[in-house]
Subunit: 274 residues, 2 copies
């Protein structure tokens, strides 16, 4: 088991965690509470544009951890697959412009595409945009998503699969994201985290509520659920990861509350349960 | 890919699929439509009792495929774990009395119990009731449940885990249930089905709807979703399984409709999509 975290020096918050806030409000709200780092979602970036957002972020002093999200490579037509690749190339440009060294990939899936085919399209899609990422100096992290998203969001559903893809792609620019929400149930998790080693590019935390009332937007604050977050943190740290710990929570309940108060609750939950 | 099924000779329906029907109505409704086999849920058994139900089933000529369900072994106290084992022993007696050669185990989980501990409690629980099952001549099938149920329903979430437990328990009376709903997303499924081989004791079908509107009761009729059911059937048959194909659908939508019509829709969906 890892030691308790003594302060918030590694804390990062995703703009989606405080979804009602604009990027401007999120930056100010995080700085106000001494949160040192931010992961920017594209929907929060869009109203400002990457140039203006980049300036805001640099002026704030916040560390930009990653841009969320690229991916969604599988599609039934070649035209749609090429459009997805172009969108990923745009995301890479945006990441470079706001100073994000990493893009998290939600790799995609579609009910009409058999999973093995979707998985191959994902590998091909990442390979196709990789030169663009290399040129921009932006890394790509494959995030395995919970199997309950295998129909429409990601055909990559275990860390084992993500690790296999990293091996297949064979580039130092491609790694994985470990999000406890997606992988906590996996009996092979400890071993696959060890195997991932230095290719763990990012680490996301939240909690699994019982009962979970919505497939997408009912994640819990750390400590509100059953995930052994600290144990999983110990595993990623033993594998060599020492980067930011990113709080990514989608929750209609938390979004309906005062977001400044939510940031304070996140800090408390982070110190107690991560 | 397997050949299409030519008739309904292997079709079995779970009483939970026609939940609004009593066991009496289910027996009559299945016989009426020429469905040759039934899996009985304990909540449908309870109002009649196993003796009376056994007589009804024998008189009907239906093949009794299994009793659903045993399991739920993990608990925070030794007393509660012993109560769970006793309940499983009662289920074994009921299965023997209604002529069911098999009990399907939904193994259990609890938010307060770490998964590795829950998994050990499951193995210990099965081992504890195994002599009773052997004496009664009733087999036990470990059913891996979808990872979205890892908090409260089952800490066994992949066929790999179930296969490992079968190996650990080392008895011909213990095998696995392959339910497409729970395992369709798994990249290792084909290999683990091959590995399971003769320990595949039963095979359940339904479909994964997009979007799925409820964690428990929004399964689809075969063909309404994205699961490659026929491909998975080919895998279990290649592994040696030639038993009944059980339709197990929990659906508030389907339960609200005419159940006799539902049985006819099941037969059509079975012939077209399984």
């Amino acid at each position: 088991m890892a030691e308790k975290l003594e302060n918030c020096s590694r804390l990062c918050i995703h703009t989606m965690t405080t979804k009602p806030w604009t990027l401007r409000e999120a930056i100010d709200g995080y700085v106000q509470e001494g949160v040192p780092a931010i992961t920017v979602w594209r929907q929060h970036l869009e109203p400002f544009g990457p140039k203006e957002a980049g300036k805001m972020l640099r002026d704030s002093g916040l560390q930009v951890v990653s841009l969320c999200r690229g991916g969604f490579f599988p599609a039934t037509s070649g035209t749609a697959r090429e459009a997805a690749r172009n969108d990923n190339r745009r995301a890479i440009d945006e990441a470079a412009e706001i100073g994000a060294p990493l893009i998290v990939l939600v790799c995609g899936a579609a009910p009409g595409i058999p999973l093995p085919e979707a998985r191959q399209q994902i590998i091909d899609g990442i390979a196709a945009v990789l030169p663009h990422a290399q040129a921009a100096g932006v890394k790509l992290a494959i995030e395995p998503l919970h199997p309950m998203y295998a129909d429409t969001r990601s055909a990559v559903n275990t860390l084992e699969q993500a690790n296999n893809m990293v091996v297949a792609l064979g580039s130092k620019m491609v790694g994985v994201t470990v999000d406890v929400y997606h992988v906590w149930w996996d009996a092979n998790l400890e071993g696959e985290i060890r195997r991932a080693g230095e290719s763990i590019f990012s680490f996301h935390v939240c909690d699994w509520r019982t009962p979970t009332r919505d497939f997408l937007n009912d994640r819990g604050l750390m400590g509100e659920g059953c995930i052994e977050i600290r144990k999983i943190r110990a595993w990623v740290e033993r594998a060599g990861f020492r980067g930011p710990i990113e709080v990514e929570i989608f929750s209609d309940e938390l979004w309906s509350q005062d977001q400044a108060l939510l940031v304070r609750r996140i800090k408390n939950a982070y110190l107690r349960h991560v």
